[in-house]
């Protein structure tokens, strides 16, 4: 029985690794032969069959960046409110937590249609980078809040009791004590939500649109990398080669952003070790 358990654990590990290796292998093998750096700073031509993806990278970074800028402050404040250290009525907290659980289970296509109805039409932002970014924020918030809330709630009771017994106001407690202690969990929430934002397609098709020009303002439509890949693979005959290359760039981008956040988290927690 012991051996059987070992074999099954080992096999499931192998299956997972194989899936990842085959995806990465397929993409790398198919894109490497014709990949060169000009692909990164050329404008797409002939619906993306030729040329590069420069404007698309810029749109992607803009959409992700703005969505992060919106997500972090709202999400952090909400997470602090929901944490067990914040004094408030339990019923209302439970209600919000349930809402967030439901929200994190909503399919992204629904977020896309919702974003289209609210941001594009109701607020009149049209198909734009801003609409796309705000829609992505709505989608990433549950993920981000859950991660930060766990981090804040794991702050030991003694720390909070001490701030009470020293007569700290709620503001000082959270600004000077809780927030610095929550930074690692904010960063890990960021990695999760940026990863999700970069990978999102369905929600963006309906909100930030298809236009592959260089965006002139945030109210311009801009095509995100994932949308570009989808379009090249599904709607553009002969776009396969560039779809592979774009996929490689997207995966590379996610890896770079993740490792940057991880390095920051490590530096901060190294400083934080002083306080452990």
């Amino acid at each position: 029985m012991n051996k059987l358990t070992k074999i099954f654990c080992w096999l499931s590990g192998l299956v997972i690794s194989l899936v990842l290796i085959s995806i990465l292998g397929d993409i790398i093998l198919n894109s490497l032969e014709s990949f060169n750096l000009t692909f990164l700073y050329q404008v797409p031509m002939s619906a993306g069959r030729r040329g590069g993806i420069y404007p698309i990278i810029i749109s992607t970074l803009l959409i992700t960046g703005i969505s992060t800028l919106v997500t972090v402050p709202i999400g952090t404040l909400c997470a602090i409110y929901l944490s067990r250290h914040y004094p408030s009525t339990l019923v209302f907290k439970k209600f919000i937590k349930r809402m967030i659980q439901v929200l994190s289970g909503v399919p992204s296509i629904v977020f896309g249609l919702f974003g289209n109805a609210i941001f594009c039409t109701f607020f009149g932002l049209g198909f734009s980078i801003l609409s796309g970014a705000l829609t992505l924020s709505c989608m990433c918030l549950p993920l981000f809040i859950t991660s930060v809330e766990e981090g804040v709630s794991s702050i030991p009771d003694e720390v909070i009791h001490t701030t009470h017994s020293l007569g700290f106001s709620l503001y000082t407690t959270f600004k000077s004590i809780v927030l610095p202690l929550a930074i690692p969990s904010i960063l890990s929430g960021l990695v999760l939500s940026v990863g999700r934002a970069l990978a999102e397609t369905a929600a963006l098709i309906f909100t930030s649109g298809y236009v592959d020009r260089f965006p002139e303002s945030l109210l311009d439509s801009g095509r995100a990398l994932s949308v570009h890949i989808y379009d090249l693979a599904m709607n553009v005959p002969g776009g396969d080669q560039n779809a592979y290359k774009s996929s490689m760039v997207l995966i590379g981008l996610i890896l770079i952003i993740n490792s940057v956040f991880n390095i920051i988290a490590k530096i901060i927690s190294k400083e934080g070790q002083l306080y452990e």
Partner: protein
């Protein structure tokens, strides 16, 4: 209520010079419930100014909960209900108009486990000072650290994390942090129970020094310590039938240790039980 039983030291003021001074806190019929469970019931005590009042008794009889009622820290536990009155300078601290931030500035509490904040040594004392609007922060930090005998040890590493200190140093830092706010009362919840004997001794000496400036209420499991530092003692016990803590006896520490007529207490302080 039988006055003689509850406040026996009032009848023999002469034997203990510090007891001539005024009552600063008087607690009447205090009970505390966690939901339906009663932690302790009907406790009445008077605390005299510039005295060290010790609270002794076995675990689970509500000593820590009791001390946390005095600066209303118990409020922050879910489902806690407190009945009875605590008068601090004649004002009921359970009055809804009491400003909790000011109350906790006047009545500081030091926990069993040293709880430095995740800040530098300097900021640990400076942040509460800033929060309460003191000026001359750096002078006050220095004075507080001198008062607890920590200045010489840490003056070159004020910017270091407070977590780098040893257990005894951390506890003294916590005491410094509280006395920097110039409170009137210091509540200490078993401040030495996580420390080695040498660090405990340092803290005991410190408490005796601080007595002239503050009123001190200390929960302790260490009877020898209680005998060494406390002027008055309140012995709590656990009522097995009704499952709650209660006040067994109260008096000068000399009386409790030497002249108690209560059999349970005699066995407890004599080391025969507890």
């Amino acid at each position: 209520m039988n006055d003689k039983k509850v406040y026996p030291w009032k009848t023999e003021l002469g034997s203990n010079p510090c007891c001539i001074s005024d009552t600063i806190i008087s607690i009447n019929n205090l009970s505390l419930y966690y939901g339906k469970k009663c932690a302790f019931k009907d406790i009445s005590i008077e605390v005299n100014k510039n005295c060290i009042t010790g609270i002794i008794g076995p675990s689970g009889c509500g000593k820590s909960s009791f001390i946390q009622c005095i600066n209303r820290l118990a409020d922050h536990v879910d489902g806690v209900e407190v009945t009875g009155d605590i008068f601090f300078h004649g004002q009921n601290v359970y009055d809804s108009r009491v400003n909790l931030i000011n109350l906790r500035k006047k009545i500081g509490l030091i926990f069993q486990v040293p709880t430095p904040l995740p800040l530098s040594i300097y900021e640990n004392i400076a942040l509460p000072l800033k929060e309460h609007g003191f000026d001359d922060i750096s002078k006050r930090v220095e004075r507080a650290l001198v008062d607890v005998g920590l200045w010489v040890e840490v003056k070159d590493k004020l910017k270091d994390s407070a977590f780098k200190l040893s257990g005894g140093q951390k506890q003294r830092l916590c005491i410094a942090r509280s006395i920097a706010l110039e409170p009137e009362v210091l509540l200490l919840d078993e401040p030495c129970s996580s420390l080695d004997p040498i660090s405990s001794e340092v803290i005991e000496k410190l408490l005796l020094n601080l007595k002239s400036r503050f009123t001190i209420l200390i929960v302790t499991h260490n009877l020898a310590q209680a005998r060494r530092v406390c002027d008055h003692l309140c012995a709590f016990w656990y009522d097995l039938n009704n499952q709650h803590g209660f006040l067994l006896e109260c008096g000068t520490s000399h009386d409790l240790f030497e002249n108690s007529s209560n059999e349970v207490l005699k066995d407890y302080v004599g080391g025969a039980r507890g």
